[in-house]
C-alpha cells in the first residue's frame, strides 16, 4: 500500500523545501504585484517591492490580507488572470457577511486535487478503495475538493453530496464504501442513523473517514470512530485557499501536515500582527505560492492555531498544525470571557453526553446569559425530577469550571436538537438582534 502520494515532496528535507518555497514565493509575489491592483496598492503603501522578497525569510515584509479585503474586492478584485482563463468558482457561505468568491484555473484545480489526493492516501486510501463523498457539492468546496482527490487516487468515487442519510447508508452498504468524506457533525449523524436502523459497524465496510470544514474535538473523534468502526482523519482548508487539503492528518492523528510546497504557514499575534516563534499559539496566516487565479499572500485565516515541526512517525517532514482551537468568529465574549463552542463540547462529552447541543446567548437586564441545551439519552433520563435537576446542576458546574462563567443547562430529549447535514449550527447569539 502506498504510504505517500508524493514521497519526494512529503518527506523532503527542510532545507530543500525552504529552497523550493523561496523560488515559488518570489514568482507568486511578482505574479500578484503585476496582476492584482488591490494588493499592489497594499504593497506600495507599505513600501514593499517584489524585489524585496528574495526568500521565505522576507515573507514578514508583505502586508496582510483579511477577509474584509476579500469582501472589498468582491467579486473579481483579487483575480490574477483573465476570467476567460478560469474554469470554476467556489464561494463561502456568506453567513458572516458578504460572500467571497474564489476562482480556479485548470492548473489550480489540478493542484487542489493533488492536495486532496495526499490526504486520502494518508488516510490509507488507494485505487482499491470506494470513497463516499458526503460533503455538499456546489459552491461549497467540500464536495468537489474530495471528489477530485478521490478520482486522482483512482478510488471509485460516490458523489453523494450531503443529505438523505438512509440513502447514504444504503449506498455505503450496497457498494462497499471504505472511505467516508463529510463534515464531522454529519459523520456523527450518519453513525447515529446507522444504529437507529438496527445496524452496527459490522454491517458496513468503512475503514476511514476524512472529516473537516468545521471545528471538532478529540472526544467527537472517538465517538465517530466507535459508531462507524473507522479511523477518523482531520482535514483543513478554506475556500479562500482553494478548499480542503491545505493540511491533512496522517495515521499518527496528532495534527495536520501542511502542504508546504503550495502554502506557507505563519502564526502571528492577532493583536499586533507580529510573527510568533514556532510552538506559539496565535492566528494562522497562509501564503499561497503556486496559485494562478486566486493567489493570496499572507491571508489571515482567523483560526487560532499552533505549528510544530517535530519529527512525525509517518516519515513526513511537512510542518504540522494542531486542530484549530477556535475561530475568532466562533469566539463569543460572554460577560467579558472568551468562550469557544469546542470548550463546551469537550465538557459535554467528558460527562457522557452527546455532542448534540445548542448554545444560546442573550442579554437580559444588561447581563449576558448563556443557555446550553443538551440531549440526554434514555439511560440519562430519570423518573425523578430532582435527579434530572441534579444532572443539570452538575453539568453546569463542570462547564463553569472550564469557562469561568455560569451557564444554565437544559437537558432535552434525544433527537430534539436539529441535525445538520453540512456545517452544524451550534450557537445562536440573540444579542445581535438587540444591537
Amino acid at each position: 500500500m502506498a504510504k505517500y502520494w508524493r514521497e519526494d515532496i512529503e518527506t523532503m528535507p527542510r532545507e530543500d523545501m525552504k529552497k523550493l518555497q523561496s523560488e515559488r514565493l518570489v514568482k507568486q509575489v511578482q505574479h500578484v504585484y503585476e496582476h492584482v491592483p488591490y494588493y499592489r496598492d497594499l504593497m506600495d503603501k507599505k513600501g514593499v517591492k517584489p524585489d524585496d522578497i528574495r526568500s521565505v525569510d522576507d515573507l514578514y515584509k508583505l502586508p496582510f490580507l483579511s477577509k474584509a479585503d476579500l469582501r472589498d474586492a468582491y467579486p473579481t478584485g483579487m483575480l490574477a488572470v483573465p476570467m476567460k482563463d478560469c474554469v470554476r468558482i467556489h464561494s463561502t457561505s456568506g453567513t458572516t457577511g458578504r460572500r467571497v468568491v474564489a476562482f480556479y484555473t485548470q492548473h489550480d484545480v489540478d493542484l487542489w486535487d493533488e492536495c486532496c489526493a495526499r490526504a486520502i492516501t494518508a488516510a490509507g486510501g488507494t485505487a482499491e478503495d470506494v470513497c463516499q463523498v458526503a460533503y455538499g457539492y456546489g459552491l461549497f468546496t467540500g464536495g468537489f475538493g474530495l471528489n477530485g482527490g478521490s478520482q486522482k487516487v483512482g478510488c471509485l468515487t460516490l458523489p453523494m453530496s450531503s443529505g438523505n442519510t438512509e440513502r447514504q447508508i444504503q449506498f455505503m452498504r450496497d457498494l462497499n464504501a471504505t472511505i467516508l468524506c463529510c463534515t464531522p457533525s454529519y459523520a456523527a449523524y450518519i453513525g447515529e442513523t446507522l444504529h437507529d436502523m438496527g445496524l452496527t459497524p459490522d454491517d458496513i465496510k468503512l475503514k476511514a473517514g476524512i472529516f473537516g470544514a468545521e471545528p471538532w474535538t478529540e472526544e467527537m473523534r472517538r465517538t465517530i470512530e466507535a459508531s462507524l468502526g473507522i479511523k477518523a482523519y482531520d482535514i483543513y482548508g478554506l475556500t479562500e485557499s482553494s478548499g480542503p487539503g491545505v493540511a491533512f492528518e496522517c495515521e499518527e492523528q496528532t495534527g495536520m501536515h501542511i502542504n508546504e510546497d503550495h502554502f506557507i504557514p505563519e502564526i502571528i499575534d492577532p493583536e499586533t500582527g507580529e510573527v510568533l516563534p514556532e510552538g506559539s499559539v496565535g492566528e494562522l496566516v497562509f501564503t499561497s505560492i503556486t496559485k494562478e487565479a486566486f493567489p493570496l499572500l499572507r491571508y489571515r485565516t482567523r483560526d487560532l492555531c499552533q505549528l510544530t515541526r517535530g519529527k512525525c512517525s509517518c516519515g513526513r517532514t511537512l510542518i504540522k498544525m494542531c486542530k484549530p482551537m477556535g475561530r475568532s468568529d466562533d469566539m463569543m465574549i460572554i460577560r467579558g470571557v472568551n468562550v469557544f463552542p469546542s470548550q463546551i463540547e469537550t465538557v459535554l462529552i467528558e460527562q457522557g453526553y452527546s455532542p448534540n447541543y445548542l448554545i444560546e446567548v442573550d442579554r437580559k437586564n444588561n447581563t449576558d446569559t448563556l443557555d446550553i441545551s443538551v440531549e440526554m439519552n434514555t439511560e440519562q433520563f430519570s423518573d425523578k425530577m430532582k435527579d434530572i435537576q441534579e444532572k443539570e446542576r452538575s453539568l453546569a458546574s463542570a462547564i463553569k469550571t472550564m469557562l469561568g462563567i455560569n451557564p444554565k443547562v437544559h437537558l432535552v430529549s434525544p433527537k430534539s436538537i436539529t441535525r445538520s447535514e453540512g456545517k452544524a449550527v451550534r450557537v445562536i447569539d440573540k444579542r445581535k438582534l438587540h444591537d
Binding site: T378, F381, D383, K384, I388, Q389, L411, S413, S416
Partner: protein
Amino acid sequence: MDTIKQFSVFVENKQGRMAELTRLIADAGIDLRTLSLADTRDFGILRIIVNKPEETEALLKQNGWTYKATSVIGVKVPDCPGGVATVLEALNEVNVNVEYMYAFVNRTPGRADTVICVDDEQAALEILQKKHIDILTAEEAYDI
C-alpha cells in the same frame, strides 16, 4: 408482593407535546388508568399507568419517546380522615422515603387507591403488610 409498572415519559415544554403523546396511546386502543404530571420551567414528566403495559412500552420505544419504566406501589387507602396519614406513618416508621404519590380516579366507594413511589420498595411492602394495609395488585391497577 406486588408492584405496578408505571411509565414516566419525558415531555418537553413545547405546545402540543402532551396531546401528541396521549393521542398516540389512545389510537393504539390503550386506556390510561391514571396519570400525574410533574412540571418544571423546561420540561415535564408524565407518569402514567395503563391497562396494557407491554404494548405501551413498545409504542413509546417505536415512536422515539424518552421514557423510563418504573415500579410503584398501589395502596388501598381507606377513604376516611387519617387514611393517608396512617400509610405515611407506617412508611416513616421504617425510614422509607416517598419520592412522589398520586391517586387513582376512584371506582370503589370507601377506598382511595393511591400510587406511591418510594426509595425502598421491599421495606415499604413489608411494613404495609405488617400493618394490614391492603396493596393494590398490578392486575387490579391495570383492571384486567
